[in-house]
Amino acid sequence: MKFISSIAGLLLTASVSFIPAAWAQTEVQWWHAMGGVNGERVDKIAADFNASQSEYKVVPVYKGNYTETVTAAIAAFRAKSHPHIVQVFEVGTATMMAAKGAVYPVEQVMNDSGESFDKSDFLPAVISYYQTSDGELLSMPFNSSTPVLWYNADALKKAGVAVPITWAEMKSASEKLLASGMDCGFSFGWQSWVMIENYSAWHDIEIGTKENGFTGFDTELRINNPHVKRILGQVADWSKSGLFKYGGRRGDSLSMFTNGECAMWMNSSAYYGSIKSQAKFEYGQSMLPLDTEAASERQNSVIGGATLWVLRGHEQEEYKGVAKFMTYLSSPEVQAWWHQETGYVPITKSAYELSKSQGFYASNPGTDTAIQQLNLNQPTPNSRGLRFGNFVQIRDVINEEMEAIWNGSKSASDAMDASVSRGNQLLRKFERANR
């Protein structure tokens, strides 16, 4: 009953909070999931755009976390009171893409509105995640990040080790760190994203068939390959002696890094702001370690974060406003500002160049690690991202199975085999629902 009444409540709030425009100015509703300081930055972007012209008014509305925002937008779409723009996280891409009647591809929005749009200026690693296999851009990248290796420079110095470049060095560095009195060598967060998805892309290993799901819904997971099993098995071994310590899902393990318990931490570059305000030691970021047994060279890492999707069902005139806003949002000035404030990567080359010429990277060393990782090589079918339906649930499955590895109840091999068979079931379910 609780479930039912919350659906009813959801529909109700969705319809109440959307008040159609009645002004001469055309209103564009933008639902987003940026709380706190980033929410204020989103408000500033909208306010600046509104001040820059008088025809359109963008109204940003905070709708809770990523999942809540998607759910709210979908409920609103079913009730025909949806916003023009909604922010959706990267794992929701397949769900959005499959909803062909609901989604207005952003490239079409731009073309239909006669807005000039230079796709070549966008960073390939960023937009490749959100393109169809024919290269049409479906949604506008907004906040994108990638996992990096954060390190406690003071601790490394005390232990007398350099920042690790390979996984073998991760181990030896952690051993020396423990010997120097640290509690743990390293930890990581968002484990499916960092240790499975990015590990695979970084070493050019397939995550799933059909080009990681890009070319069809009849895709199957391949994360039970020997390399993934081996690295996770090693990490599990290391956890016995404290070289690695598990600290929970998402960013829960951040405190273990910032309170000096673990000397290294693999997670999103967008934790820059949090680490800057919490860490009482010299810190830095560098590239993810290379597993020399899996590949001889690094490929490129994949992004996380969210993009802006345009929903159908409004007046064509209003979409002109959407297009104008998208142009403003991706302009070098706005992007460079957003990137430098938040630690998210700039989505265009010109925004990157602008940040460089403003001297941001020179005065904040290491802040370009994320963008360098993404730009390292032209993305391959294995490294341009992934597109699996029901992936929110699949990530949960992977989280559960990985936790079973860390607490010793399953071997890495069994856990990954289970992840694949459970994940494939969810993929089949998605395929069935979107036939």
């Binding site: 009953m1 809540e68 979908i74 607490n407």
Partner: protein, 293 residues
Amino acid sequence: MKRNQFNSSPLAYLLIAPQIIITFVFFIWPAGQALYQSFLVEDAFGLGSEFVWFENFIYLAEDEYYRDSFGRTAFFSLMVAFTSMSFALVLAGFAERATRGVLAYRTLLIWPYAVAPVLAGALWVFMFDPSLGIVTYFLKLFGIDWNYKLNGNQAMALVIMVAAWKQIAYNFLFFLAGIHAIPRSMIEAAAIDGSGPIRRFWTIIFPLISPITFFLLVINTVYAFFDTFGIIHVMTQGGPANATEILVYKVYNDGFVGLDLGGSAAQSVILMVIVIFLTGIQFRFVEKKVEYK
């Protein structure tokens, strides 16, 4: 035959209409929707849907993780009911015997009930956090390695503790009222016969409040089934490795996070059946006022 019946005037219908409408709009209609939805396989946006009869239910029946969740929910509910009722009974027994400061004592005991589940969860998370928690620190002094984010049994123990703690106040009130309702003369007579307080409690008070105990058992089970969502959402999100994923959390997770509306609706229909069953038990046994003879 004379029919004993009131003349049905339109006014009568008009007067009960608001109640009927509210019941229909907020209970019958959504419940019907959930039932209908549970027979569908549908994409998130509702652009295309297919009527599949019982396929969603068959999928659940074959899903070993769903079956595990059933067993886990039963264990969780019984543990919550047992823990919180035993503590409440002990406290009520003492409160009954208190002679001074009774009001302050009772008021303090009722406080936890006023704390929202989410806040209760957040409070305990602070105390039991594996790297920052104060309790974790003390446990470490005793050589206990506390990490509920990794250890499923610890996570389960923690959510049971919090869920039970929150419900103690409610149970306490009922037990206290029940003990108050027992005629003093009975207890006094036993006292004159020479039985001590503990013996009096077990042979007189406990049997006499058994209808209340049974009522609370049903209420607590229902509470543990449905109202503990907030606690689990804040503390463990069903983890680690599913260790605390009870049925109601799975409904939320599959429906609102996973956007699998058909499967989630099927699960809520099953939950609905469980509630109907529990309510049935309650009406059958409790409302009939089964009394100790």
